[in-house]
């Protein structure tokens, strides 16, 4: 008989779930089959492999992620609807009552920009990660720098439960000059975020800014015990490149 014909008996014997008869059949086969004996030895060896343990603070980090977020502004969607209505009425009224002036056009542009901002802010507070990603795309497409949008992106980067959303927020923030509070949140995030991908995106964000203390802080981060090896390598390469380019932080 071939080894395969004993597959079920051997699998049950290895797992300790075989009947006496199945175990006897498996052991009789293994006594005369070096390959199946070696397989069984491998199974035993797997059971002796050391068990790794996750970071001790992982449960605490997870609890932070599921803690209730500040509730979504209830006015947001109402404001969107109102702004759309005002926009349409202004357009219709303007078209039929008076010729449009440069000032009217500028005013309409301003309203549209405000509308986009409201939509972006509303989307950033949605339950669905894909909606929040849309919010980030809207934010990144906005003209100018609205402190409220930057603040919302910064909060998303720090608190969002989805790695994809946090990565997108870090990328979007690179378009804006970071205010001090947002910059400090990003530094704090580097201590707390458990995703190496997000850590690298935040490092890029901070390195791209004009903060004169960034280089020293990045060097300190590079030397921190427990930093992910990939992040450390990335940071090392980034700092070396910047040194070659003429110490842009100094």
């Amino acid at each position: 008989m071939t080894c395969s014909e004993f597959a079920v008996d051997i699998a049950d014997t290895l797992a300790g779930t075989a009947t006496a008869a199945a175990r006897a059949r498996a052991e009789a086969h293994m006594a005369g089959c070096a390959s199946c004996r070696a397989n069984a030895a491998l199974w035993d060896a797997m059971g002796e492999m050391p068990e790794a343990t996750p970071s001790a603070d992982l449960p605490a980090r997870f609890e932070r992620r599921i803690a209730p977020r500040p509730s979504a502004p209830r006015w947001a969607w109402g404001a969107v609807a109102a702004a759309v209505l005002v926009g349409v009425l202004s357009f219709v009224a303007g078209r039929y009552t008076a010729p449009r002036t440069e000032a009217d056009i500028a005013s309409l542009r301003g309203e549209v920009r405000n509308l986009r901002e409201v939509v972006a802010l509303s989307l950033l507070d949605q339950q669905s990660a894909s909606e929040r990603l849309r919010g980030i795309r809207y934010s990144a497409a906005l003209e100018g720098t609205d402190p409220e949008v930057v603040d919302a992106l910064s909060r998303t980067l720090s608190n969002d439960s989805s790695v994809d959303v946090r990565l997108a927020a870090a990328e979007a923030l690179r378009r804006f000059p970071l205010p001090a509070a947002a910059r400090e949140s990003a530094w704090k995030l580097l201590e707390q975020d458990d995703s190496p991908l997000v850590q690298i995106a935040v490092i890029d964000l901070l390195a791209a800014g004009k903060d004169p203390s960034a280089r020293a802080r990045l060097e300190k981060l590079r030397d921190r015990a427990g930093l992910d090896a990939n992040v450390r390598d990335y940071l090392q390469a980034l700092l070396s490149n910047q040194r070659k380019k003429g110490n842009q932080y100094q």
């Binding site: 779930t17 070696a38 030895a41 797997m46 492999m49 990939n230």
Partner: protein, 189 residues
């Protein structure tokens, strides 16, 4: 929520909007899930990410939990899907070698550590579906019936696949170690 509640009672509480119950489930199961992902991916950081992702998926899809189902089977089904999704999204990512936090070995200990390192290497070289069968049955302690439910196959099919995966693992191990058999590991006689 009581700490003496079963996993199933806690999950029913999560369905009712009790987020702290999910925190308690995470405390109970995160280490096992972490080890599952670590054996599958070889990356500690990714494994911590994916373990959290599994519980966030539970929160988002709590309505799909059926109260008569075993919690651990449902959890591993989500973990299985999370790993597949990750693999699809991140084909470019290379698994990093696992680092074991152990004291410097000597003598027999050194020999055993080298064997474990080669065994780990052989596991990582195994195709993911076969590796998962061995990880679930050997490291995670799932019964063949549970694995069958998880993968949607008959129990005996699982047993045959485990047997074959083990054979393939041995072939890879022998190529890596350059030795036929596993005499050094003190295998069964």
């Amino acid at each position: 929520m009581l700490l003496s509640d079963t996993d199933e009672q806690l999950m029913a509480a999560v369905q009712g909007g009790d987020n702290p119950a999910l925190g308690e489930l995470f405390r109970r199961h995160h280490a096992a899930l972490y080890r599952y992902f670590l054996r599958m991916s070889g990356s500690a950081a990714l494994s911590e990410d994916l373990a959290q992702d599994v519980f966030l998926r539970m929160l988002r899809k709590s309505e799909t939990w059926q109260r008569e189902a075993r919690f651990s089977s449902w959890m591993y089904r989500i973990a299985h899907n999370a790993f597949i999704d990750h693999t699809r999204k991140s084909k470019w990512e290379t698994a990093m070698p696992e680092k074991w936090d152990m004291a410097a070995p000597a003598g027999r200990q050194l020999e055993q550590d080298q064997e474990h390192a080669m065994l780990h290497q052989a596991l990582m070289a195994l195709p993911a579906d076969k590796r998962e069968l061995l990880v679930l049955s050997r490291f995670q302690g799932l019964k063949y019936e549970q694995i069958g439910e998880l993968l949607g196959v008959e129990t005996n099919t699982v047993k045959v696949r485990v047997f074959r995966a083990l054979g393939q693992l041995r072939e890879i191990y022998e190529r890596i170690s350059g030795e036929p058999g596993l005499a050094a590991m003190g295998g069964r006689s």
